[in-house]
Symmetry: C2
Subunit: 325 residues, 2 copies
């Protein structure tokens, strides 16, 4: 992808480190992704090799965009990324274990200032600068993918908490003694229901517990996923619709609690599950309102991110750079 630069304003480099792949690009202040590309994360067993490869892949884009002198800095989004320490700590999906000084390593390699945070916080910044939350000072970003991530903005600033780990809303307990989350060992967390993984479990549970005829009964346990539940629901399958109703009920209850915490102007949803549209959003909104006390009712917008999913992670990471002094 390529677009001519039209000014000499500073640019930001955004790098999103995922478990499978790493996406990166050069972004201007308006959120135009000028140049972008990607590479594998997973193929690098040694962190040093990964950093070398990352440099070799990003450097040509920097040159195309006018050279390192135009770059204000690098924003890194990574799972379990800590804003304060610039480290990634015990990220289960990355090939490197323990506490990784990623910001420092990238800074040394690129000779540019680096800011790091977790991917959901980066996504929230991206929405605030370029997306659905533009101009808002109080909103909550929820990413509904394989897991549930979140970034919380209050008083115009991301909430990092005293240790840099704030905003783990996917792990809040919504159903005490509810469904086991295999990753954390906790029961009844939002993530165990309102994620792609959660929808799959709900489908398997409902198929086992009921005798309702359903298109989903043709699908094997192993190949069941949220996409197949969505396809069945779109085809009018009542059980598939009920699965999204149930998911929305739990998500709506959780959102009500979040609203009573920070009273956001909007909740911005992002990620694969939002493709279910009103199948999920309608019950979510309804159950959120049901659980809110009066002073909060009919005030909070539920918005779906309109950033292109493939670009959003890079835009979010790059947004960190504009906060650099």
């Amino acid at each position: 992808m390529s677009k001519a630069t039209t000014s000499v304003e500073p640019l930001a480099i955004g790098i999103d480190i995922g478990g499978t792949g790493t996406k990166f690009g050069i972004v201007d202040r308006l959120g135009n992704l000028l140049f972008s590309s990607e590479m594998s994360t997973r193929n690098h067993t040694e962190l040093e090799d990964y950093i070398d490869d990352l440099y070799n892949n990003v450097a040509p884009l920097i040159e195309k965009a006018g050279g390192v002198g135009r770059m204000k800095g690098i924003g890194l989004g990574a799972p379990n990324g800590n804003y304060y320490s610039g480290t990634v700590e015990y990220a289960p999906n990355l090939p490197w274990k323990g506490i990784l000084p990623l910001a420092k390593l990238v800074e040394n390699k690129f000779s540019l200032p680096v800011v790091l945070t977790n991917d959901a916080n980066a996504a929230a910044l991206g929405e605030m600068m370029y997306g659905a939350a533009k101009g808002m000072k109080d909103f909550i970003m929820i990413t509904l993918g394989t897991g549930v991530g979140s970034g919380i903005v209050a008083n115009g600033k991301l909430i990092y908490g005293h240790d840099g780990f704030a905003g783990e809303l996917g792990h809040t307990i919504i159903i005490p003694d509810g469904r086991l989350h295999e990753g954390t060992g906790k029961k009844g967390s939002l993530e165990s229901y309102a994620s792609a993984t959660g929808v799959r479990y709900t489908a398997l549970e409902m198929l086992a517990k009921t005798k309702t005829p359903s298109l989903l009964r043709k699908i094997s346990k192993e190949s069941m996923d949220s996409k197949k539940v969505y396809d069945a629901a779109i085809a009018g399958d009542p059980l598939a619709k009920e699965i999204f109703e149930y998911t929305g009920k739990i998500l709506g209850m959780a959102l009500a609690n979040f609203v009573m915490f920070s009273s956001p102007e909007a909740i911005v949803l992002f990620g694969g599950l939002t493709k279910a549209g009103d199948l999920l959003l309608k019950p979510t909104k309804e159950h959120m309102e049901d659980n809110l006390i009066q002073v909060f009712q009919n005030k909070v917008k539920i918005l779906v991110s309109h950033l292109k999913e493939s670009d959003a992670a890079i835009l979010g990471a790059s947004a960190l750079v504009w906060e650099l002094k």
Copy 2:
């Protein structure tokens, strides 16, 4: 109460408006309550008369403290107080109904700048300036009284939310379809369990559901209250202890969710229920830790406010004044 002023630094007036009484005082920057007094709220059916009486009661203290020229402003803490609008909206326990422009009325009467917020937010500011949260930038204040109030500080600032009503943690749902809260009509909120009222209900429920011998069986339904449960627990009564265990279990679950939201350095507890001490705090801490994912475990302090309860509300309200430009 009276103490000689020793400097010509500006002073703040703190006024806490409760349903029964109004407390007020003159406070210096170090949190010394130089002069204070109180008057009835309830006896004033007309808001104008109340404001007149308030002025007549506070004016002599202002004179004693060096005159109106030394006063930087007035901080008002009131139930349902809104920081942005300076109004008190539909406060069920105050004698005046509807939306009350309290900040404006007090400002006009005293000819001093006025800042208003709800009582729990004021309490949080008081703890941050003078109390257990001194120097902290991220903490949550929870008041455990007849109800459950809260004030949340992140990045060194109170979270007011987009509409000024943030921080209603007492109304978050902890047990879906749980105990009915008569005031809100919602089920399973924190306040319906972890308040003095909640402890009373738990006592009545446990007495009805079990046959366990207990000192509490001698107490009539009408006169049961959290103080009597406390006295029985201190006397070694197993059922009374179990009531606090249960209350702490619910409070601990709720605190875990709050921690995963804003990752505070500490949670500061205040109010009548905290007098139960370890009877309540031990299970609270234990269940909070049980529900936290690893990254948050054994990091968050649970502190009990050490401000004198009779002064804390005035100190909290006065703390608002130091934020005035």
